[in-house]
Symmetry: C2
Subunit: 418 residues, 2 copies
């Protein structure tokens, strides 16, 4: 099989479909999304049977229990995926909105209207629900999508994409609007990354190595999602109860995600009083501490942190702890080691809250709240396609409107440039 | 000289300066811009003397008159460059504007505030005024800039950047906020393109080969500017006077720029009447026609166009002309050969005007106006850093606010995620 030609064929079909998708009305898109939702329920046996092949392969390959759980599809989960499609149908269509319109001195009327990006390439790992979620958001925003999931979930992905694609096309969407690459060779990704003529943007979602590979090697523009080495700084004026609640929430509620807490910074002046209190609740929640030397002086039984611990995204019940002498030192530490994802200060000092908000450079900066809120649904966007950790185009949780671009439309009466 | 280390040193200095720049107030930035403007006038002899070296080298190397004119700096042009700095000082500072702010159900208040991108890498050719213009826009938007101009203008660029950098730093801006790469080896660009840790975005400005090189090889996010194969479609209901005025303006006023007309599409039903009229004014303006076979049947003395003529950005007094049988054929042609820059329809038919605006995919789509208006100043943005021909982050003329990103700031009272 000629993988390069296979990918190019799919991409050029997507390009042609994108032209049709861009002018399809909201009602048709919503009808398609609801039909996709129903088709998933109607064909759940097919999905579960395909998924059981992936599960078997996973067990054979010694995949961890946690990963197997991410892979699993059952009736309940298919119902959830189906419902999320219906939710996307209910979201406001971003396409066609005129962001602003103005007249210039010669009478030309200039408007900036939201239009689809065109063809979006999604490159992702393991969880098969991404196949459906990404397709839904791309369709609703008038885009076409080329999906490239991981080999772990290939049988599930093929079943899901066949079912939703058929429903979408029966509902009047153009052939090629949703396409899964059914080959899992690396070569397919390599080809995708260079297809500037056919693909407008790549969105990689997954582990650091997947994302780095795409960022490094793609000539197609990339929206980088991902890594979160998130910090909380407990300032000297912090309310201890609020601080402990937020730390436990940010570290424990879902340790494996990018907006979870990784390093805690504590102001020196409260460390002797606060740390023993904190240790107790961390122990209750089975969180292991790796601390700086000053922390170890207060909590002698903990492990000493190394330089690597300040850089690590543990994604696990481990917390790095460092005592700092000032808010400036906390900001310096975050500047040096942070990944510009989500950072928080716990404080009751007005000036320090403003200083932290102003000076910390990250997608989301919090005062007295958990970093776990960096999420499209939590922010009220209804759904998200990922969390951008880059500065171009989108930053933070990406909503439907981040899958659009603008077109300037100009109404004239014969104006020429002087 | 170790070019790689040289570029990394500059870039890491820029990274450090970016942190300081991001919190500098508008007054300081404006003071710096005005000081830069004055310094250029005060030091114009130095600039003119450096420029004369570039001019001499250019003449020795057989540079064309047109290119030499682009390179030339004299008192009048330095005055213009100086004035443009003062104009940038008068523009509204985009930084700190809260685009929107809202409360979610648990009481968290979420705001999205405009912040600088950080470090911008400008890669450009020939015209030395870009050195100053780009620096001014980057500074005003709170960014640091690394400038990499072409070898043709290296002496002028060094003089200009030394003068403005000194004025900027004396006015309180951080060391490293403006830096010119004083080496013109290709290697310097190759290094720049991979410095994701230090540079947030690259903006290449220049010819197609420069831009393609950056798009293909950069791992740093790129805003693509550039190539414009622009079309005008004269519909059957077009007012002939308006059509001729707009065509001449779009083709002749400044043929060497990206928003100039390259291919004219004419509806079949008016071609026999319109083309001879048009030929006359094109002849008056020394514009050479290369036409399709149907055009040649009407105007026997013109040259026959080849497939390449539909693709060409002539940037010269040459116009490709094609007769089409319908508006759909015109849109198909633009879809196939256009570069998504600026496209226009001349019509008096309401439905066709709407159809063209809706279905043509380009940064700017015009009804009854010249494509030459695709420009930051013309659009009323005050200044532009380039015209984006990509869909990510910015599309069309890029203003100051396109040099910013957002940061989400979240005010809480102890909220944790359920």
């Amino acid at each position: 099989m000629d993988i390069k030609q296979y990918v190019i064929d799919k991409a050029s079909l997507a390009r042609a479909a994108a032209r049709k998708m861009s002018i399809i009305d909201t009602n048709t898109k919503n009808r398609a999304l609801n039909a996709m939702a129903e088709a998933l329920i109607k064909n759940q046996d097919i999905i579960i049977s395909a998924n059981s092949k992936d599960m078997e392969n996973g067990k054979k390959n010694g995949t961890s229990e946690a990963m197997l759980d991410r892979l699993l599809l059952n009736e309940k989960r298919i119902k959830e995926i189906s419902n999320s499609l219906k939710d996307v149908a209910l979201l406001k269509d971003p396409i066609g909105k005129v962001d602003r319109m103005w007249k210039i001195e010669n009478g030309l009327q200039i408007g900036q209207i939201k239009v689809p990006l065109g063809v979006i390439g999604m490159i992702y790992e393991s969880r098969p629900n991404v196949t459906v979620d990404a397709a839904a958001l791309c369709i609703k925003s008038g885009n076409c999508v080329i999906l490239r999931g991981g080999s772990d979930a290939i049988n599930s992905n093929i079943a899901l994409s066949n079912i939703i694609t058929e429903a979408a096309i029966s509902s009047g969407l153009p052939k090629g609007c949703i396409q899964l690459l059914e080959v899992t060779d690396r070569e397919a990704v390599n080809v995708m990354m260079k297809l500037n003529r056919y693909i407008d943007v790549l969105i990689p979602r997954g582990g650091a190595s997947l994302i780095n590979n795409v960022v490094k090697n793609a000539s197609v523009p990339v929206i980088q999602t991902g890594v979160g080495n998130c910090h909380i700084f407990v300032d000297e004026s912090a309310d201890f109860k609020i601080a402990k609640d937020i730390i436990i929430n940010a570290k424990v509620q879902r340790p494996g995600v990018c907006n979870a807490l990784e390093t805690l910074l504590i102001h020196e002046s409260i460390s002797e009083k606060f740390l023993p209190e904190l240790k107790k609740v961390l122990d209750d929640n089975k969180v292991k501490i790796k601390g700086c030397i000053k922390t170890k002086n207060i909590l002698p039984n903990i492990e000493l942190a190394s330089e690597d611990d300040w850089k690590n995204e543990y994604l696990d019940l481990i917390l790095a702890v460092k005592i700092v002498s000032s808010i400036d030192e906390s900001i310096d530490h975050i500047y040096k080691y942070g990944t510009k994802h989500s950072e928080a200060i716990i404080t009751n000092d007005y000036n320090n809250s403003q200083k932290f908000l102003n000076e910390v450079d990250a997608a989301a900066v919090y005062v007295n709240a958990s970093t776990r809120f960096t999420d499209g649904s939590q922010f009220g966007f209804g759904a998200e396609i990922g969390i951008s950790t880059q500065k171009l185009h989108a930053r933070g949780p990406m909503a439907l409107e981040n899958l659009t671009t603008i077109k300037s439309i100009i109404y004239g009466q014969g104006q020429i440039r002087k």
